[in-house]
């Protein structure tokens, strides 16, 4: 059995006095794709932000590999050498920075030397369009290109775990499918663990190993994706599958 890369134990978190996540246990194993789905406002983004220190943890503990990161700030997690990549839903690139600078930021805690050159070459192999426009400001990229840049930046440190917050949001259906294929390819070729938060629930569940359905900050259902896909209640409420008349 694959080892856990990330573990969360009974986490409660939120903003100020507002508690959004109400006690969640979660585990992501090596080379596993875990999809988190749920209705708007269920706390999906808050949950993943709580795992990496962007949202204050009221209670509970988070471990990445065997290191506890519960009360570390995001930059402290990265500085402590934990290989982590995160692509937020909104503001996923630095618009005033060039594409090259965006990629450099992905390796901020490392020296920008030969290793950076090697990684940047790897990223250009994955996303050739970025090489063509390396000196351009990120603000000039289209929505799809921004997602590529965001993914490339997150992959620069060669992370063991990649956290993606609705990477297909605001993408046309064909581009969204391309993104899903890219995620699957990353999982297979690099062997990276991925937490994927998605609104395109059915398609993302089809591609993932396990799934979590989140409702009002609690786990409503959890298990292998193929099993969740078969459950009538989940189909009806969260996967957008309509009953046949």
């Amino acid at each position: 059995m694959n080892k856990p890369v990330l573990r969360a134990q009974n986490i409660k978190s939120g903003y100020g006095k507002l508690q959004v996540i109400n006690g969640i246990d979660l585990q992501v194993n090596e080379k596993e794709l875990l999809t988190i789905i749920g209705p708007n406002g269920s706390g999906k983004s808050t949950l993943i932000k709580s795992l990496i220190g962007l949202v204050e943890l009221f209670e509970g503990r988070v471990f990445i590999r065997d290191k506890e990161v519960s009360h570390l700030r995001p930059h402290e997690i990265i500085e402590s050498g934990i290989p982590l990549g995160y692509v937020p839903q909104l503001a996923n690139v630095f618009p005033s920075l060039t594409i090259e600078e965006n990629l450099k930021i992905g390796l901020f805690t490392k020296k920008w030397d030969d290793y950076y050159q090697k990684r940047i070459k790897d990223m250009f192999d994955l996303f050739p369009i970025l090489e063509e426009r390396i000196k351009q400001k990120a603000s000039l990229l289209s929505g799809g290109e921004r997602q590529m840049l965001a993914l490339a930046r997150a992959l620069m440190p060669n992370p063991e775990i990649l956290i993606l917050d609705e990477p297909t949001a605001a993408l046309a259906p064909n581009l969204a499918e391309d993104m899903f294929q890219l995620i699957i390819s990353l999982k297979k070729t690099i062997g990276i663990s991925i937490i994927l938060v998605e609104q395109r629930a059915k398609r993302s569940m089809e591609l993932s190993d396990r799934g979590i359905v989140l409702v009002t900050g609690r786990i409503a259902a959890e298990g292998p994706s193929n099993e969740l896909l078969e459950e009538d209640t989940i189909k009806k409420l969260y996967l957008g599958v309509r009953e046949k008349k």
């Binding site: 995001p74 930059h75 500085e79 937020p88 630095f94």
Partner: protein
């Protein structure tokens, strides 16, 4: 009442042309020095504007505090170091005073962040709250300075450049011409003033390089774009914000100490009186475009002086527009050169109509700022 007819020119058109040339050069020299001051005092405001995304009105009091603290530094040095001929070069050294002002104003900037702006950021306050808070901080500091040092300009002795720079670089253009009717014309550009202009430009180029080409500069711009994303990329954004405050405030203090050296007196409203032209330079040059600030400072300074020349000509007795209007319409419109500050803003508005992001600014750097 009818005014006297214009006198005939005494020495012909050559004299008039020479006087106009002297007038233009004289105003050109004034504009050059004024632009240098603006450049130096603009950098800090531009840094805060571009990294922290709000208009810091307390910048005016950073300038005032820089002037006061550099003078204060002089007093401390005079007290600590026994004044004699061998120590004079330390006590009255402009760079030492300016460095002292850098630290003092830098600390003021840090205190503003720790006591007010950091808390506002934690509460996710919008940029308007930051701007209003900065106005409040400015008022408090201005009044405190007036309370402690008095609200009247304090007479001071001008500091000296270190290593006898004034004597090494012997540039001194001083020309005075007195005409019985057209008055006194003079050009005054000393090596001291030229060095100040050079320091201003070097400071801006240094900050521009820091901002665009160093890891620290990239981290500052990344923090400006998205604090969350910068944090998950491993940037200690809190530290970057502290450094930004300290450097921005410090450079303003440094600049204020140097500006103070060019003027005989200073008071608690000196910074405030320069605030609007400084804002105009930042907006005209473009938010985050430090080198653009140099060009825009020169545009503002020169348009101001050109306006002064034109307004003075309008005021002159022989054939002046002011008199012609009075003769024609029966009432007076004053064309005092004191109105020259408004012309810089006319230029600003005209440029913004065609380039809202400023001459060298980028659209995304201008967005979401107040």
């Amino acid at each position: 009442m009818r005014r006297n007819k214009p006198e005939k020119f005494l020495n012909g058109s050559k004299l008039i042309m020479s006087l106009i040339a002297i007038d233009v050069l004289s105003h050109g020299a004034i504009a050059l020095v004024y632009a240098g001051k603006l450049v130096l005092l603009t950098v800090g405001l531009n840094m805060i504007y571009s990294v922290l995304k709000f208009s810091n009105f307390s910048h005016a009091e950073w300038i005032t505090w820089g002037m006061f603290s550099s003078w204060w530094g002089l007093q401390i040095l005079t007290f600590v170091i026994p004044w004699d001929a061998s120590m004079g070069f330390i006590i009255n050294n402009l760079f030492i005073q300016a460095t002292f002002a850098f630290i003092m104003v830098g600390i003021l900037g840090l205190l503003s962040e720790i006591l007010v702006f950091g808390r506002l950021r934690k509460l996710k306050a919008n940029p308007r709250s930051f701007t209003v808070a900065s106005i409040g901080i400015g008022l408090v500091i201005r009044n405190l300075l007036a309370m402690v040092w008095g609200d009247f300009p304090t007479p001071i002795s001008p500091p000296k450049l270190p290593f006898g720079l004034e004597n090494i670089i012997k540039i001194s253009i001083t020309f005075t011409y007195r005409h019985p009717i057209l008055g006194t014309q003079s050009i005054n550009l000393t090596s001291f003033k030229i060095i100040i202009i050079v320091i201003s430009i070097i400071t801006v180029l240094f900050i521009d390089y820091l901002f665009k080409n160093t890891k620290f500069g990239i981290a500052m711009r990344a923090t400006s774009d998205s604090i969350d994303l910068a944090q998950v990329s491993g940037i200690n954004t809190k530290r970057i914000i502290f450094y930004t405050w300290f450097i921005a405030a410090g450079i303003t203090g440094f600049g204020a100490a140097i500006v103070r050296a060019t003027q005989g007196r200073f008071g608690s409203t000196d910074g405030f009186s320069m605030l609007l032209p400084i804002f105009a330079v930042v907006i005209l040059g473009g938010v985050g475009a430090f080198r653009g600030g140099i060009i825009s400072a020169f545009i503002i300074a020169y348009s101001r002086e050109i306006a002064a020349i034109i307004l003075t000509e309008f005021q002159k007795k022989p054939g002046g527009l002011e008199y012609a209007i009075e003769d024609l319409l029966g009432f007076t419109i004053s064309f005092s050169p004191g109105y020259m500050d408004g012309i810089g803003f006319v230029v600003l508005i005209l440029v913004l109509l065609f380039r809202p992001q400023g001459i060298f600014g980028s659209v995304e750097a201008t967005r979401a700022r107040v």
